[in-house]
Structures are given as structure tokens and as C-alpha cells.
Symmetry: C2
Subunit: 331 residues, 2 copies
């Protein structure tokens, strides 16, 4: 497989995680980084030994040595830069949410299609063996008929980005998107359907004075009779968890792979408790860090233009769910 | 204190728990039991050494040696028998929910007032030192500003009573009532208000073919900015729990006192985790079993006609919440 040369659009915290992932990947190499200022780009380039740095995203997109871009700007800028990247013929891995509206996501997908480039929303956790194993256990009937899923992803500190509506602030966009994605995955695994969307979405939130959701709860009715209970926010120190309840037992993931494994591969756990039985700890080994895996996944599916776990239909379905959840909590 | 002579209206499982509680109580004594059949009443009387048994509830209510009755008929019969007990001049401890509608509860309360008898809904868990300690910790600011509470009470087996709409079936009436009660208690402790009701109630359920809620989730917006996430049902083996999240930490009750302590007093736990700190296990000792405590609580507050933790206003507030939750999940 040819080496995939990456350009980074934005040079923040998550870009640093991804850069480290590319370094650890088998098929990726860092080619360039762009930031809002040349100094910031140069600092990042020096820290991660990136050959080129640019003080403008346009310049990076004009670089013929860049094959694929990783977009990690604030959420509201994802869409416009993804479209420009597609027009520049670059393959695209874009941080979640792909855009802040379904209609804009449709435009990004259209641009990827029209320019024949790869496009994937960076829900890296879906590629992790822990999550794959969870889905397999559900599909295989390990807990019988799936009745409910309870998923929480939250933390208790705010950054300016999170509290600014103009920057796509709020817990739902930042971490709630994992909750909707995971809940839908459970229904997908339970029903054998590729992509599902909720039949009903309810939500309630603590909104700050600017209308940003600091703490949000959600309820989804999903295909297969699966109810989902979601919790997220940046003012709530919960223990992140996934719990899936079925007629014949439950599955519990105490440390979901979305944040508890960033760089170094670890052995993680799924706890299966059969109805009336003792908990059984299922150890899941990971051989690659989460972002290295993601970078290699893009390389592996480049020719298909979509990754099987994160198709464009999957992205749209999750965004529509998020849009409904956000609308439900707005007062 | 004069001994309180109890008559039991109904002789089922929960009546047996209560009978054992009266035996262990300091101020209560079992005087009579009534069941739908004389044989059943006789069997119960022999098992618990109850001096008198009746094959009709009317006969028990006519017994001048009975001071107080414990009503544990199916839910839809609570109201009518509570009113007749009040009219017979008996003090009343009635299983939750007091009635299956708010309007009927108002009639029961009116009957208690008119006949000058004690009336309490049997939410025995509210009297347990574990729950009192939880409320004190919240009131004292142990976790800062309270933001959310997550409470679950469920199990995975059905009985004919639970699945029959005519018998007040469904998880919300059976165990969800504890969730609303506890969530409201958290808001009460956080705000210092005596009785609170949610500003907003949302709900979603798996309903069976008769419209009975087998699994129900709920969201409440409570005074003090407290959001509540509720889960209950009789088709769901969750780990019952209470989690209260505040700006400065969380409180976790792994085994809430509503079922994990029935007869024998136990030492139970509340786990306080300050923000960014290590969990601290707070041990709470109980000196009496739950039902013995309840029987003595009735005796102690007989002259007041209401118990301070479970006033008539409290009962009505919880029933209104349940009525809204049940309406929200009906499709």
C-alpha cells in the first residue's frame, strides 16, 4: 500500500493526538500542517517533525504532496473547509460532527462525490476492537432480545469553544454525538440493519444564558424496540459508560474506547452478565492506538471513498439524530 | 406510647413483609388480618401469629380492637378501601401509589381529614437513615450545586398483577414511583423546599400489547435547576442505583434502601466522590428493619395525622408527577 501523506487543517489538541497517531500508523505520514497563524503552524511542525507548515489552510490545500487532510477546526468551519478540500482533490477525514447541520453535511458529501475523494467523519471509536466486539456480542444474541441502552459521556470543565454558540458549543455536539452514534450502533447490531435512525427523540438540558447545552439528557426510540437513555455534558462528572440491557442479560463497558484509549493500545473490558448469572469479564486487546488505527483505516478504504463502518449514510443518520436532540432541548 | 394495634387489609407478599416488621417494631402489634378468602386469612394469621382473621375487609374494619390498617391490595383498590377505613375511624398506612389517580387521592385525603385519622403512603424508604443521610449531604453542599440525578429501579420478571392494566400494572406504578419520589427528594434537599414538583416531564416506554409500560424512562426538570434521569421496569435487570451529580462532586448509592434492605437492619453505603478527588465510603447504620421502622413511624406521628417526611402534599406531588410520566409514555 502506498504511503498516505497527511495534511492537518488546524493545530489544536485533537490535531496533536491525530499527529501522534499518524506517526504510529503503518500507512500514514505527516506531510504538512496549517494553522491560523504561521507561528502556531511552525511550532506544531517542530513538535511533531512535520516537514511543511502553512499559516493558511488554502496554502496547505494547494500543496500537491498532500493526499489527505484531517480537519479539526471548530465545528462550524468543518463544512466549508471539507468542501474546499474536496475541490482541491484531497481525501478527507473530518472531526465530528461533520458539520453543524444536516443540509451542510449533504453539501460536503456532494462535494466528495463530485470530486471523487474519500470522506469520513472521524468517529474513531467505531473502529476500536472493543466496540466491534460489543456489536458482535449483541448481534450474536449474547443478551437475548435487546431492550435498552444507557450511554453517558461527560466531563466537568468548560473551554471558550464549548460555551460559544457561534463555535458550535454545547455538550451534545462535543460528546453527545458519541452517545447517539453508540445507541444507533446498538440498534443496528440488534436488528442487523446497516444504518438506523430513531423513531422518536426526546431531550432535556441545562442551557446556559446563551442557550448552550451544558448538561443534556436524551431518550431515543430505536428500531428493534430498543430504547436509549443518553447523558452528556461539560458540567457533569459522570463515569462514562455503555450498558446494554437484553432479555437474557446485560453488557457493560466501564471505559468506552472513545476517550479511555487515545494513543497507546490497551486491553479493555466488556462485562457480560447473563440473566441471573455471574459477570464474565471479556478482555479485548487492541494492537494499535485509536488514531493510528483511524489513519490506517482511511488508507485501507481510500479507493472505496467511504469506510464501511462510517459511511456517508451513517454520518447523515447521526447528524439528523443530533439535530433532533438539539431541537428537543432548545426551549 | 400506647401500643398500636394493626389490621392488615390483604395478605400478600408485601403484607407478609409488613407483618414481620410489626413483629420487630417497638410500638406496633398485629391484631387482625383480612383476605379475600377466609382460608387465606387463616393461613396468614397462623403463619404470623395474628390473633384474628377475617375473610372480608369490611369485617376487619368493623373490629373495634384495630387502631390502624395497612392496605396492600392491588393498586386500583387502595383508594376505595382507604376511604372506607377512614370512615371506620381507622388510621391508615397505604401501599404506594396511594391511588391510581390524583383526583382519587384527593378524595382519600379528604376522607382522612373529615374522619380525623392518620394517613401515610407507605414510601418506607424515605424513613431509612441512608436516604436521610443522602438528603443531608445534598443540603449541606457536599457536592456543591446539584445539577442532575440518575435513578434506576427495575427487575426482569412479570407477574399477572404487573401486566394487567385493570390492576394498575406497569413498571411506573410499581417501581417508577420510587424514582420520581427520590428525584423530587433530591430537588427538595437542594432547594430547601418541603415539596417540589417537576417543571417538565418527558417519558418514553416499551409498552406491551395492552398498553402496560414494561420498561420506562423519564426525564424531569426540577426546581433548583436539577435534571433527573429515571429508569424503571419489570423487563430490565439494571443495577438499581442513585447518582447525584453536583458542581463539586457526586454521590452514589449502589444499593438504595428501597429494596436492598427489607427486614434485617444492615449497614449500607453512600459513596461521596469530591470533584477530582478519591471516593469516600460513608457507612450508614440502621438499627431497625425498614418495615419495623415504618410501623413505629406511624405510631410516633399518629397524633399529627401526617408524617413529616410523607405529608399529604408530598403524596399528591408525587402522584401528579407519576400521572404526567404515565401520560408522557402513552402513545
Amino acid at each position: 500500500m502506498k504511503e498516505l501523506r497527511w495534511g492537518l487543517l488546524a493545530a489544536g489538541t485533537i490535531a496533536a493526538e491525530f499527529a501522534a497517531g499518524v506517526d504510529e500508523s503503518k500507512h500514514g505520514v505527516l506531510e504538512a500542517v496549517a494553522a491560523r497563524s504561521g507561528d502556531r503552524a511552525a511550532e506544531f511542525a517542530s513538535r511533531f517533525e512535520v516537514p511543511k507548515c502553512y499559516g493558511s489552510y488554502e496554502d496547505l490545500l494547494a500543496d500537491p504532496d498532500v493526499d489527505a487532510v484531517y480537519i479539526s477546526t471548530p465545528h462550524p468551519l468543518h463544512g466549508a473547509w471539507a468542501i474546499r478540500a474536496a475541490e482541491a482533490g484531497k481525501h478527507i477525514l473530518c472531526e465530528k460532527p461533520l458539520t453543524v447541520s444536516v443540509s451542510e453535511a449533504e453539501k460536503v458529501i456532494e462535494a466528495a462525490r463530485a470530486n471523487d475523494v474519500f470522506l469520513m467523519e472521524a468517529f474513531m471509536y467505531r473502529l476500536h476492537p472493543q466496540i466491534r466486539r460489543l456489536a458482535e456480542l449483541i448481534s450474536s444474541g449474547a443478551i437475548g432480545e435487546v431492550r435498552a441502552v444507557d450511554v453517558a459521556f461527560s466531563y466537568n470543565f468548560a473551554t471558550p469553544r464549548l460555551t460559544d454558540p457561534a463555535l458550535g458549543g454545547g455538550g451534545i455536539f462535543d460528546v453527545g454525538c458519541y452517545c447517539t452514534s453508540l445507541a444507533r450502533l446498538v440498534s443496528q447490531a440488534a436488528t442487523g440493519q446497516d444504518v438506523v435512525e430513531p423513531e422518536e427523540v426526546l431531550g432535556m438540558a441545562r442551557l446556559d444564558e446563551n442557550g448552550v447545552d451544558e448538561v443534556a439528557f436524551g431518550l431515543l426510540r430505536l428500531p428493534g424496540g430498543v430504547l436509549a437513555q443518553l447523558a452528556c455534558g461539560f458540567q457533569l462528572t459522570q463515569d462514562d459508560h455503555i450498558r446494554v440491557y437484553g432479555s437474557q442479560g446485560q453488557l457493560y463497558v466501564p471505559k468506552p474506547a472513545w476517550i479511555h484509549e487515545m494513543r497507546k493500545p490497551k486491553t479493555s473490558q466488556i462485562i457480560l452478565t447473563p440473566e441471573g448469572g455471574e459477570p464474565e469479564v471479556i478482555e479485548v486487546e487492541a494492537t494499535q492506538g485509536l488514531f493510528a488505527r483511524e489513519a490506517d483505516h482511511v488508507a485501507a478504504h481510500l479507493a472505496d471513498r467511504q469506510a464501511p463502518e462510517l459511511t456517508w449514510a451513517e454520518t447523515l443518520a447521526n447528524l439528523r439524530t443530533l439535530e433532533r436532540w438539539r431541537a428537543a432541548v432548545a426551549r
